[in-house]
Each structure stands twice: as C-alpha cells, then as structure tokens.
Point group: C2
Chain length 356, copies 2
DNA sequence: CTATTATGCGTGTACGATAACGCATTCTAC
DNA sequence: GTAGAATGCGTTATCGTACACGCATAATAG
C-alpha cells in the first residue's frame, strides 16, 4: 500500500505538502496539487485507517435526537438500543454519543430538544425528523453535519445521509403474505380483513397501510377491508379498545394487519381469548426483545422488520465515517425488509439482539 | 482510555517491561508481573487497536479452501465473492487471503489442495469441509488456526469457529411457504409437489429436503411428494432432464421445490414454456447476481438464503480477529435465514451485492 | 575475588497520518 | 529599494504499541 511518504517521494516534495493538499488545508500551489492528485490515483493511495485513528486530535462527540422510547408502541426503544450499541463500539475510539429524547407529538418539545443537542457542542447529529417542520426550523442555522434516520426530509439538501425503510413496500408485502394465508377461496359473504391503524399517525404508518390496501385492492377485490383506528399506546387500554372491534357476537375478521409493533398488544389480547379466536392470520412489525413467544406460538404469523436498531447504529457509524475518517458514504440507505416467522425466528435472534 | 504508558507510570516501571509482561515475552520478575496485571485490571486497560494495527510487524496471510466455483450450481461462486470482498477489506491492513479450489467430489483433490494451502505458509485457514474425513486427515497435524464455513465437523475441537446455516429449518420454512401458496384446498386426485434434488449430494441438500418433507408430511398428508434427482450441473442438460419430468401430456406439479440455486435453471426452463405452465409456485435458494429477473417476474416465488457471501466474509474477518487482534469470537455462528420475494427483493440488492 | 552468565528492565525507533510551526522565497506597496 | 505581507513548502513532534538492543545488577562458577 502506498503511503503519503511514497507520494511525497514520487512528487519530489515533502509529506507535509502532500497532507495539506489531501486535506485542502494550508497553502500549496495549483501545479503541485495537480501532480500530487495524479500520483495518488496512480499509486491507488488510500489512507491507513490505523495511523489516522491513532492520531486522535479531538474527542468527537455525537448527539442522537429521537422520540421518547415508549412512544410508537416501544419502537423507539429499539432505535435507542441501536444507538447505545453504536456508542459502545465507538467508545473504543474515544468517541461519545449522547441521546436526547423528545415528545413526538409536540413540536415544541422537538424544537427544544434539538436546540439543546446543538448547544451541547457536539460534532454531528443523528435525528429522527418525525416532525419535519420543527426540525427544519432549527436546522436552518446549524453548522454541524446531521443525518436523518427513520423519516427523510428529501428537500433538506444539507443532510449528509438518510437511513430508512420502504414502508409502502412492506405494506404491499404484508398484503401478499396475508392473501397467501387465507387458504380458502374468499367468498363475499361478509368476510373481512381488519387493518389496525395504531396510535400515533406518522408517515410510515400511513404508507404501510396504503401499501397493504393497494395490494389487497389489486389482488382480492372480493374481500372487505375494515380499518380501525386505535388511539392508545397503553397495553390494557389497547385491549379494551380492540375488544370493541373483535366481538364474539359478530363475525370475526379472517385476517388482521397491524401497521406497527403494537401487534404485540393485539397478540396478548388474542392469546387470552377462547379457542374460537385462534388461528386468525396476524401480520405486524418489529422484533421486540422478550416477545418472541407470540411468533413462536403463531399468535403472530409474520413479523416484518427493517431493523430499527441497525438503522440507528449505521447512522452513528456514518457520522463517524464522515467526521473522523473523512469518508463520503451513500446519501440514502434503505434497509433490507426482513420477513420473520416461526420457522426462521431463531436464526435472527443473535443478529438482532446482539451484534447486528 | 488507559495506555501502557499509564500502566508503566502507575507501576513505577517502563513501558518496555509492561509490554513484555503483556506478551509473555522476554524477561521480567514475578512480582512486577503481578503488580502490572493488577493495575491493568484496575485501569481497565485494553490495547488501542489502531496503534496495534499501525505497527505491521508481519504480513499475515490467510488461505481459503473451498470447492470449485461452478460446483453446486454456482453456489461456491457466491462464497468466493465473499472471500474476495473480505480480502479487499483486509488489504488495507496489509493482510492477504489466497483462495484454493478443489473438486468437491474428489477426496484426493480436497486433501491435495488443503495440503498446498497449509504448505503455503499462511497463518490461518478457512475451510469448507464438505468432505469431512479428507479434511480431518490433513488437519490432524496442522498447527495453524482454522475455521469452518458451510459444513461443520463438530467433533473437531481444534477449530476456532464454525459459520453456517440451518438447512433443515430452511426446508421446513420452504414447506410452510409452499403450502401457503397452494390456495385451494388440496384434493387427492393426483396432485403432487415436485421436489428437485439437485446435482451433487451434500449434507445441506439432504437436510433441506428432509426439512421440507417433514413439514409437508405433518401439515398436508393429502398431497403427494414426487422427488426427482437431477444429475447435471449444466443448464442445458438440466433443461432436458427436467423436460422428462414436467410433461405437457401428464399432470403438472402444483408446486416445485428446488433444494439449491439450480432453481434458476428450472426458472429459465419454465419461462420458455407455454402459458399453461405459468403460475406454478416455485421455491429455491440463493440470490445469484444477474438472475433477479426470475424473482421479479415471479417465475420463482420465494428465494431462501443464508448469505453465503457473508458467511465467507465473516469467516475471514474472524481469522483476522483471532490472529491479528487476539480476540476470541463466538465459536458457532448461524446466519439469519432470509426470505426473499418479489416485494422485498430490491431492498436486499445493495446489501447482498455490494456491502454485505 | 574475578570471570561469566542470568535476570530485570530502560531506551530507542518504527509504523503512517496529522498538524503546528517556521523558514525561505516571491510579491506588493510606499 | 526596502519593509512587510503573502505564498509555498519542509521539519518535527505526536498518537500507542511492538520489539530489538543493550545496560546494569545479581547470581553463579572457577
């Protein structure tokens, strides 16, 4: 591997000059710069990351600004886990990541939290801009690099990257799996699919449901779709609300689609019911530690996930790459859409719960 | 983070002595060693990987011993890709990985190839022990660390790790998906599922098929399973062999399960047939670059994969961790079992075809 | 009691990139 | 025409670890 010393020798100058040219720092002549850049390409130079890491001039610190962990049915807990893991990994390079939580339903809270993060003097920020306007307001005069996870603000061209998921497509996929599970030809005698629109109303929920509906409408016109909005994020209240929709006295749904991880609330409800209710196909989102049981016993038939932990972890790693290593990662990363079911659940555990 | 300098100061000695104690090298007194080790624990010392990597004392070299790329329907090409990628990643640390191929049906070839790999003076070997006895014979007197991918030899306790897949479970999962795709209640009027037992006979093929049969036998006794052995690994010959089993004049299978990546040969065959044949549910294995089309147009309905590229990449990275960084990774890693279908294919491309 | 070996430990340098510092030379201004 | 600024570039110390070298002192032999 070529080093800057090799380049300096080849160009007949000193390593200091090469360094200045590489980093656009200090003073150098145009001619020398051109020559150095040409030689760098010829020698296929790439900096030695160890040497670079060794000379730790600064202790970079990052901030992660995301909603409260319990919101969106515990989804943000998963994101927080990813941040914590990244934080540990980075700690060996003397880098720190601080987490800031805000109320995803309060623009004020978002603005406020984001401002304190900026004021903390960190060198880079990872943000979940679930309230785009609030975030854009504050970021207007920010001068440090930032990166979005979960939700994108495409016209925010100062962001260094977006890491997210294809929610619409996950809805489409859910539709496909749902239809596959309905073995018998569907008749039009009142049978229906229940779509549960979970508490909170965000972009992902909407587009997941839109994807699901789109698939169903294209591939199964005979089946009714009944969509209900649930307004509580508390498990017990969820149960009583859902009880109003799944009644012994009325026809049961022939399939249930829950657009986020509150599918586990539904599962704990279904589990307590009599045999009559069992076997209804259920599709939902996200692997929640400690709740694998519902997938194992097939109360939930399919879980889709685009690895929220990994999204967060990747985000922080990207900040590190950009700030510390001076790299230029992809500006948009869409996570793979994983299908998890009883039969492959155990092969995912380690990856998702331990190392990513 | 504490450095050896901190330790030396705390112990009132020089860094040279600390170094010798850490590495059990040279001479030092018992008393000093005890003191140093105590202080190391107190200060929670862990070596700076950058500093360690920077001082490239040796150019470690690794060997990867796997079957010929074209064998097992091109499966080993994927593994080779993973090795090449790992090799590139490692090259920035001045480490090299050399690939050795053998004929997976020849014990002699395996023994011979493995021996040359050992003789090459490499510092660690990654092996796909598809012929366990041959591998064990040669490894008996090997004194360098080795690691298995793809196939395990559990009683080989000298291996530092095994990276593999749960093939039985992937068969079970295939069974589930297959039954889900057969929408109509299955009658017993001659309908059957075609199981294609691809060329080559290895542990994974057998256990995938066993898993598939097991699921079908438990969950769908009414359906016949017709298993056919294909003996050629050439696409055109495959087509003519399969033509003997899927005939216009006879009843068509209501589903086809191909136990490895030769599912793409089947797909190219099915694609050329008349409309009558289309729509048969097909399940197979592995994402082959350039053949995504068959999943997109749903000639193949589901692809299962346990990321052969990633298995190989991980294997080499582990060798690096063990040999160069002195770490102790997991001794057994089972890769996640991914389900890929038209609707999530595009989210996987980047991960599988670029960065892993 | 000296000659030799063994033992414990300190010094110095290398690894590659970084970045502060400062020396020359050239350019500009009055 | 010379002071002062601007420009181009070389030198050097630093990060933490690895490891060769070699200096002392202690132990042992003759």
């Amino acid at each position: 591997m070529a080093t800057i010393k090799d380049i300096a020798e080849a160009a007949g100058i000193s390593i200091g000059t090469v360094d200045r040219i590489i980093h656009n720092r200090g003073r150098y002549s145009r001619a020398t710069a051109d020559k150095v850049r040409r030689i760098m390409k010829e020698l296929n130079y790439s900096p030695n990351i160890h040497a670079r890491g060794l000379k730790k001039t600064r202790n970079y610190s990052f901030a992660a600004v995301i909603p409260e962990e319990y919101q969106d049915s515990g989804y943000w807990k998963l994101v927080a886990d990813g941040i914590n893991r990244a934080s540990e990994e980075l700690s060996s390079f003397c880098k720190k990541a601080e987490m800031y939580h805000f109320d995803r339903y309060s623009s004020d809270s978002c603005v406020h939290t984001l401002k304190s993060a900026l004021d903390s003097g960190c060198d880079g920020i990872l943000i979940a801009p679930v309230i785009p306007e609030a975030v854009q307001d504050v970021l207007g005069d920010a001068d440090i690099p930032f990166l979005f996870i979960d939700t994108d603000i495409p016209d925010e061209n100062k962001r260094i990257a977006y890491i997210g998921q294809d929610s619409y497509q996950s809805g489409v996929l859910s539709g496909k799996l749902m239809l596959m599970m309905l073995k018998k030809e569907v008749t039009n005698n009142g049978e229906y699919i229940l779509i549960i629109d979970p508490p909170g109303s965000n972009y992902h929920l909407k587009s997941r449901i839109a994807g699901f509906r789109s698939y169903m409408e294209k591939n199964c016109t005979s089946l009714m779709l009944k969509q209900v909005k649930i307004d509580t994020d508390d498990e017990r209240l969820f149960h009583s609300e859902i009880a109003g929709h799944i009644k012994e006295t009325e026809q049961l749904p022939c399939g249930i689609y829950v657009a986020n991880s509150s599918v586990y609330y539904l599962a704990s409800y279904l589990e307590k019911l009599t045999e009559k209710y069992t076997g209804i196909p259920v599709i939902g989102y996200d692997l929640i530690p400690g709740k694998e049981r519902f997938v194992e016993n097939e109360t939930i038939n399919f879980i889709l996930t685009q690895q929220p932990e990994e999204q967060a972890r990747l985000g922080l790693m990207m900040l590190y790459d950009v700030l510390v290593l001076n790299r230029h990662p992809e500006s948009e990363v869409i996570m793979p859409l994983h299908i998890i079911t009883k039969e492959n659940l155990h092969t995912f555990r380690k990856e998702i719960f331990q190392t990513g």
